[in-house]
Amino acid sequence: MTYYAFIGALEQGLAYGFLVLGVYLTFRVLDFPDLTVDGSLPLGAAVSAVAITAGVDPYLSLLLALAAGFCAGMITGILNTKLGILHLLASILTMIALYSINLRVMGRPNMTLLGKPTILEPLINAGVGMFNAAPLLFALLSVFILLFLLWLLHTAFGLAMQATGANVQMITSQGVNTDRVIILTVGLSNGLAAVSGALLCQSQGAADVNMGVGTIVAGLASVIVGETLFGCRTIGRALLAALLGSLVYRLAIALALSLKLGQFSFTPSDLNLLTALLVVAALTLPKLRQKVLRR
């Protein structure tokens, strides 16, 4: 793997880190399998691209993306809690609807940011190299969001969030409206996914309506890889593991792409297959290990 491939993987891993933290919130904390992210990630990219094109400050466009993603997640939450639709189906419905909405937002299937300002500009102007600017900035943002989530999960609301995922009867008996907790948490998760989309769009220079395909599987793979490698004994550990899992996952993909076996080499179109295999392996290996150890 070349240095540039390495830096590129790092950049992607950090950009997708927000999404992975969001997936951790829904899948692990709330026990809510949420596929909305396949739609809210490109939504964030679309909102950010359109806003920047319209002259909005790139940093402000991140907040707009966050808000848009939050709304998308809340809709999934409302479909599930208020209308009683199964969580998985509710999220698929929102995801499908978002495809149309993303096309409406952009007015076309894809949009480039060529020659437009991005969040990386101030760093590049300050003398940080072209290739180092994105990983550096994304790492800073990641640390910030990690600390925010660590704080949030230790507030009273955060405890209620964890209890909602673990024991609905208990937390309802303590007077917490679990519907509200679910709506807000799924909202936050998708807000983070949308920020990932906005960061990717600005670092790659384009938003595409199809960039969300397979997002959830990649996110889940990162969470599981992180848990397996770095553990999840405490909330802080689990959050950090999710973020590092995202890095490891992207590095593994970059490694696979740089692999050459005689005539054969992987192409980016093989990524979905590789990811699916990785998730299957990550999900079954711990069980296999237990089986072997029990003998």
């Binding site: 507030t155 009273a156 024991n167 007077g175 917490v176």
Partner: protein, 264 residues
Amino acid sequence: MIEVNNLVKTFHRGSVNEVLALAGINLQVGRGDFITVIGSNGAGKSTLLNCLAGSYAIDSGHIGIDEQDVTRWPEHRRATLISRVFQDPLLGTCASLSIEQNLALANRRGRRHGLGKGVRRSDRELFRNQLAQLGLGLEERLKDQVGLLSGGQRQALTLLMATLIKPKILLLDEHTAALDPKTALQVLELTEKLIAEQQLTALMVTHNMRQALQLGNRLIMLHGGRVILDVREEEKAAMSVEDLLEQFYKVRGEEFVSDRMLLV
């Protein structure tokens, strides 16, 4: 202060499996009443508690607490007035949170669970003192995950959580039935102590008739979704298990079938 009027609850209404669980319950509970609830399987004991707590939507009737009509309140809103301990020791606490985090959630029962710090330093002193009275050594294990505790320890913790903020009414649904005899006795003694100390109003479902006679100042017997016996104070104190059985035959005028009722 708690008024239950003509409470009706049917399960699987309109299907072949239709079951009339509560056939018009009327009950007035006074402040400080400690009522034991007995009845055979399917009599409606647990259903009554679940309807009071708001877990089940009722078909018709009214539930009032302190002159407030709570019939249409959702379960989480009723939790501002009602606290409960379940038969399943795993149901009342959150396994993945620590002891102090569970207590912190209970310490906000009925108030907003907002963005303030979950466990404040000042809370810990209170939690330690409260846990110390359980005599289980949990006051030294504030940061341990609740999943590490035994069923009995979890039930004692649930009981403490249910009374940390004084409820208008405490609902106990066979809360010692899943514990071993020794632990069950400990939890029962703790129940008595907490109810007496805080002068709580409580409804306790039990299958044990002797226990139902020993505890509390009032006893009601349910059958077929109706209250068929309601005795209090001296009248209750004078009763024996045999009297209870006799009353049961008399009121129902039918053969007494459930063997679980006979377990004393």
